[in-house]
Symmetry: C2
Subunit: 301 residues, 2 copies
């Protein structure tokens, strides 16, 4: 049994606010990322390779709030966060507040594999990127006209749900490979109109991203501050490990009880040690996809 | 019952490598911070006020790796991290990679109380500090001759235990006030010779710092990357909440089983819902102190 799930953000009105043509674009983009990651698993690749492959596709796609098309800070720039965790070794790598790295998820992986550290931020992360041979891109590469319009609306005090389906929409993937190894990856531009230097839950190991073989792998999306205060991804894993509840129940309780009690909302994708996938959200919708070796394949908004 | 515990770092040989006079200096410094925090509790102050008061004292003291006297990066600068969490509301604030804020723990508190965010890093955190009226200090304020010598030794490939007692030594405090509220605070200069932009466990909610009323409050010190991969502080709390083990057992298992299995070492201070304190470490020693309203008061290295 091998399995992968992806998300492209949770938020308000993703289906209702989108034209049929636009919905179709999202479905196709999600399918492309899902199948890219699934292909890795199908060819015997690791869950780590699979989640990175899927997230890379979403980082390249300006429809999603990660890499190109990232939400913009209050100063109009893009600041990107990403994390990856290998459940087989509990190794992890993350970057935050990087401005010139095309694929933050690749840099997070490099931090995991080549540095002595887990999390690098800002200019120090980019210095490491250059040492590792990453080609930097100008910040304008990430910025799209739609994200600029979103920021203008937010600055004017307006909600943006009529324009963008997912201003909080992070991307992520979780997978179990045929060897039973679990992995999780998350990448985001963060909250639209955030302060420069704000770091959300995505690159925080335990908050937005976690994986532990034999337990589960988790990637979250939504209002990051609430996920950080709950240590949501680790809370899901600890619930599975220590309370003996199913992954679905652990995800449900985290989102619909703990997170709600704080006033937060969002979505979680997760896969357990047997490859069973949970996709859940407390927002109106979540861009998501799941596929496993039993033949199940779904894309939904 | 009210109680407070503090640490000033865990590492190699803190007692063996120190002269009697130097040990006395450390004991006096720990006592000053402990009593400062305890005084807040004694006068009816909150656990949040108490942990911040204790950490401020340690930040000012160049004996410890936080604020003045912080360990230096590979480029010779000081980059400071801190976090605070209020267990009564699960609110939290943190800063990382700040270079000009005299009391990073105060800025972390301000992030919690005045921003919409939990974690601010780098220049963005300092922009927020200026907006909030913090006076910035030059980076040289934090740097001491001893830390420069430590860095020189590390660059030369030598161990530093003969010189500095606690190159990994972070400071932190946990407390329970008379109202039963729990709080935790941690502040550090991070690992000596770290990469600029490296963020350790201290400012990561769930890794180096966590507090939840009714469960426990935790502050960690040691090799931060391992604490991040374990989500150690939250793991302690989840163990207490879900496995029904005592706080002492949860701390023991985290340090001596989970952390050791990864190859990491460090120390943890924690207080449970009833004000029972745990101080444990897997290094050779830990600068620590504890005091409660039963009359117990201890300082140890």
């Amino acid at each position: 049994m091998y399995a992968i799930a992806i998300h492209g953000g949770a938020g308000g009105l993703p289906a209702r606010g989108l034209s049929a043509a636009r919905q179709q674009q999202y479905r196709e983009a999600l399918a492309a990322a899902l199948d890219e990651g699934y292909g890795v698993l199908e060819h015997g690749g690791s869950s780590l390779e699979a989640v990175i492959a899927a997230v890379r596709v979403l980082e390249d796609d300006p429809l999603f709030n990660s890499g190109r098309g990232a939400a913009l800070t209050s100063e109009g720039g893009a600041e990107l966060d990403a994390a990856v965790m290998d459940g087989s070794t509990l190794r992890a790598g993350a970057v935050a507040a990087v401005r010139h790295v095309r694929h933050p998820i690749e840099l997070a992986r490099r931090v995991m594999e080549k540095s002595r550290h887990v999390l690098l931020v800002g200019a120090g992360a980019e210095e490491f990127a250059l040492e590792e041979g990453f080609e930097l891109v100008p910040n304008v590469y990430f910025r799209t006209a739609e994200r600029q319009a979103e920021l203008d609306l937010l600055r004017g005090g307006r909600s943006v749900s009529e324009l963008m389906p997912s201003s909080q929409g992070t991307v992520g993937a979780v997978a179990r490979d045929a060897g039973g190894n679990l992995a999780a990856a998350t990448s985001t531009g963060g909250m639209a109109n955030k302060r420069p230097g704000r770091v959300g839950d995505s690159p925080i190991i335990g908050a937005g991203t976690y994986a532990r073989n034999g337990v589960c792998a988790v990637s979250a999306t939504g209002h990051g501050e609430y996920f950080m205060r709950l240590v949501a991804a680790h809370h899901v894993c600890a619930s599975v490990e220590y309370r003996g509840v199913s992954l679905a129940e652990a995800v449900r309780e985290t989102l619909h009880e703990r997170l709600r009690a704080l006033g937060g909302a969002g979505g979680i994708i997760a896969v357990d040690a047997d490859g069973r996938i949970s996709l859940d959200f407390s927002t109106e919708g979540m861009f998501r996809g799941a596929r496993d070796s039993s033949g199940m394949r779904q894309i939904a908004i």
